[in-house]
């Protein structure tokens, strides 16, 4: 008992100090702010941008503080209303080479930031925003890839002088080739075996004179993960264009992507931009002599003009667009100025050079999703989401001269359509369409209410528990109360250091930890009382109480920790938020409830030689 070493006190003091310092940033309320950065990621914010901002807002009666950070200019203000007002003013007055986003700027003092102390992140349920879960339709990616391979295969088989009757992509993303005779088939088989590695071998043929080329599992995995990676990149670009501070774009599971946009109010716009798979394709107009199998008829997007036939072969697609800007032509109609990358430019030049006088069609390609009802195995109608492709002509203009890397596209309905198309072309296309499988939007007012309710219930819960244990255990109650408070400080500090996200269920987890953390002390104190009753000396009783209760506490906490860790690895969303605080809370409570109270008790009773009675 008296052997409680000085190093233990030092350790406790150190941990306490550490906890206080690192939980401190959470006491500073963040400023509502607006952040401005250049659209192009290569250009970082500069004093010129600051001057432009100052110019715009100098006449407004809003209290602001402008700071130049590495990538952006930050304008702090005092209220949320002013923040919105500021954003409106800035978006009206700054030309469109900048992205303007709402932000919550931390007000953590410099010295705290220097030692890496930052406040906890708040989840969407506490600060408002949108959460999307999107499922990537990898089937389409597979099909697109096979279509590309098919085009390539047709050309190469022709070059090899291998004649085929039919070549098409089937439903299950495999290519079907039909031949006139067995010799052609065998030649083709040999050629494909030598030149293509992505197919399952042997090339399956269930009919005579035909080959079925299905993708190997390895290749399918590769294509799927490429598609998801490209979608992630594209989504990140698009989110940047939307102007959101601290967005989250992450892969979840095998085929899903989660996007969280804090502070976004206009969910319709966000959803529109994120899920759009609109892109462009350039085709030459089909001529009278183009065979039916190589041309397709498409309607006009705006309904003007009769459907027209375009050749099936694509000159180039939207992925070769380097930049795109929306503007207006000489008649004030919306247009998009396009600059192609080098490869795209030369492709375009080659295709148009020999076709002057013919017409070039620009196809607007969009993947859309709809809900259809299917019968499942039990005969019940179940809703299934299905994606389908819409291709419409937006312009069909005569080629007057060979085109190079820059040109413009007209035929768009409205300025908003042109700026959306420009954005989508800039941000890149999605490799595969996505369906929204989950969407959660929390308005800012609900977020604020949630914080208030959460914090209030936590305070009251803590107060009730503290009151009870002080009343019930007296001096030892003080030790337990201090330990409990210390526990919350430590929990918040660790959450802040791990930059874990605090959510409403997370607050519930903290509250529950408060209730359960007392358990360790209750166990110890009950044990001490028992030992006293058995007639032990007070100091011996304290010793025995702590020692005997330790194993019980250990077993009880480890088992609860098992549950928390499993929740953490299996859960999503609210479950995860709860599990994080619960796991950290269990660990910190072991430290504070055992070592912390012991140190306090020893401080009070440890120095005295003979104690008649203790207050427990």
């Amino acid at each position: 008992m008296r052997r409680y070493g000085i190093w233990k006190y030092l350790l406790i003091l150190f941990v306490l100090g550490f906890g206080i310092v690192y939980s401190l940033p959470n006491l500073y309320a963040p400023d509502p702010a607006v952040q401005i950065s250049y659209t192009s990621s290569s250009q970082s914010a500069d004093t010129f941008l600051v001057e432009r901002v100052e110019e715009v807002i100098k006449d407004e009666n809003i209290s602001t503080k402008i700071e130049l950070e590495n990538d952006y200019v930050l304008i702090r203000t005092d209220t949320y209303q002013n923040q919105l007002k500021l954003k409106d003013i800035l978006s009206k007055n700054l030309v469109n080479d900048v992205v303007i986003a709402l932000n919550l700027a931390p007000t953590t003092p410099r010295w705290l930031m220097d030692i890496g102390a930052n406040p906890m992140k708040l989840g969407l349920d506490l600060r408002g925003g949108v959460h999307f879960l999107m499922q990537v339709d990898t089937e389409t990616a597979l099909k697109n890839r096979q279509n590309g391979t098919l085009q390539d295969l047709r050309i190469r088989l022709r070059e090899e002088k291998i004649r085929y009757n039919q070549a098409l992509v089937q439903d299950n993303s495999s290519i079907l080739l039909k031949f006139n005779n067995i010799e052609s088939k065998e030649k083709a088989e040999e050629f494909i075996n030598d030149n293509y590695t992505q197919f399952n071998l042997p090339l399956l043929s269930n009919e005579n004179n035909s080959l079925v080329l299905s993708l190997s599992d390895l290749e399918i995995d590769q294509i799927e993960s490429d598609a998801i990676d490209q979608n992630l990149t594209t989504l990140r670009n698009r989110v940047n264009e939307l102007g959101v501070s601290e967005p989250i774009v992450q892969r979840q599971g095998k085929k899903r992507i989660v996007v969280q946009l804090p502070g976004i109010q206009d969910t319709a716009e966000a959803k529109n931009i994120l899920g759009k798979t609109a892109t462009l394709e350039f085709h030459l107009e089909a001529q009278m002599d183009t065979p039916r199998s190589r041309k397709t008829s498409y309607p006009y997007r705006n309904g003007l003009g009769a459907p027209a036939f375009l050749q099936d072969s694509i000159i180039l697609g939207g992925d070769q667009v380097a930049t795109a800007q929306a503007s207006f032509d000489e008649n004030g109609l919306p247009q998009v100025n396009i600059t192609l990358d080098g490869e795209g430019g030369s492709k375009m030049h080659r295709a148009t050079r020999g076709n002057i006088g013919k017409r070039l069609g620009v196809l607007f390609v969009e993947q859309k999703t709809r809900t259809i009802y299917e019968r499942n195995a039990e005969g019940k109608q179940i809703p299934v989401q299905e994606s389908y492709e819409v291709k419409e002509i937006i312009s069909l203009a005569t080629i007057r001269a060979a085109l190079g890397t820059t040109f413009r596209i007209t035929g768009l309905d409205s300025p908003s359509e042109s700026s959306e198309l420009a954005l989508l072309l800039r941000a890149g296309a999605l490799a595969a369409p996505m369906t929204f499988v989950e969407e959660r939007t929390v308005g800012p007012s609900l977020g604020a209410d949630n914080i208030q309710a959460g914090v209030f219930s936590m305070q009251l819960g803590l107060l009730l528990v503290l009151g009870f244990i002080l009343f019930y255990y007296r001096i030892f109650g003080i030790a337990a109360s201090l330990a409990l408070t210390f526990n919350i400080v430590l929990l918040v500090a660790i959450m802040s250091i791990l930059s874990a996200t605090l959510t409403l269920p997370g607050i519930a987890g903290i509250v529950l930890t408060v209730g359960m953390a007392v358990d360790a002390n209750v166990l110890i104190f009950s044990r001490i009382r028992e030992e006293l009753k058995r007639g032990r000396e007070p100091l011996e009783a304290i010793d025995a109480g702590y020692n005997r209760a330790f194993l019980t506490i250990w077993d009880a906490n480890v088992t609860t920790l098992i549950v928390a860790v499993i929740l953490l690895s299996y859960g999503t969303g609210p479950v995860k938020g709860f599990a994080i605080t619960l796991s950290i809370g269990i660990i910190t409570s072991m430290f504070t409830a055992i070592m912390g109270t012991r140190a306090f008790v020893n401080l009070i009773y440890g120095s005295k030689k003979n104690i008649e009675r203790i207050s427990i």
Partner: protein
Amino acid sequence: MTFNIDFLAWRKIAIVFSSVFLLVSIGSVVLKELNWGLDFTGGTLVELSYPQEANISVIRDTLVNGGFEGAQVANFGSTREVLIKLPGTVSDSLGSEIVGLLSSANADQIDLRRIEYVGPQIGSELRDDGGTAMLIALAFMMLYIAFRFQSMFAGAAVVALIHDVIIVVGIFSLIQIEFDLTVLAALLAVIGYSLNDTIVVSDRIRENLRSSELDETSDIINMSLNQTLGRTLITSLTTLLVLFSLYFLGGELIKNFALALIFGVVIGTYSSIYIAANALIMMGLNKDHLKVEQPENADDNPLP
């Protein structure tokens, strides 16, 4: 607090009581099913806030006339908050459509509090994942207890846990409270809590089996239950204190979570006394079962 209650005299009554409750719970889950929340059924939910009392039936009529058929409208927490549930999928601008429709109908300043949309395929996945998580949690805990204590204790703990989970789920089914993801989290927390209780009791039983002069297992168990009762009640009380503060003040979103835990704590406390201890007796636990092992006295273990 000192107790000298003959808990085990009530054993038979407890068994009858638990059996009836279990049967009612299972029956209710089978017949009435659970009132699955949006997380599990899929669909759309819109929460709105009106400046003054909202007229539910007018809102419902406006929605149905505006083409949102099958819209369920209800108050949420207060008379000014309205929760609208729609089956099926959401269009890109559903929120603004609904707000627009409703504000044009009665010129109120409506605040869109939240929209949630969950696709049909997510729901069943979440249910499966939740079930898997629960089974894995049970398996790991059984292993840990079997390793730390003895396999009979593991069996008894799991019987108590399954008892608790079934009854909490049964209560949610009986009074048709919405069962969503947060309730699932609460259910797992109930497992953690109830287990905590069971371990504390088991720990004392183990200790007494090794050290007590009493021969009858049931007497030893009874003594252990009395010794730990004070602690069990105090811990349950402090936990319930915070849970009630969460229930009343934590906001609507956390209400069912708190409720599930409140039921769980009460039932968990009961089960660690009656179910776990009873199961130990029924499995025929006696002193010999713990003799083979090296006696593990807590006093030998230094504190950290």
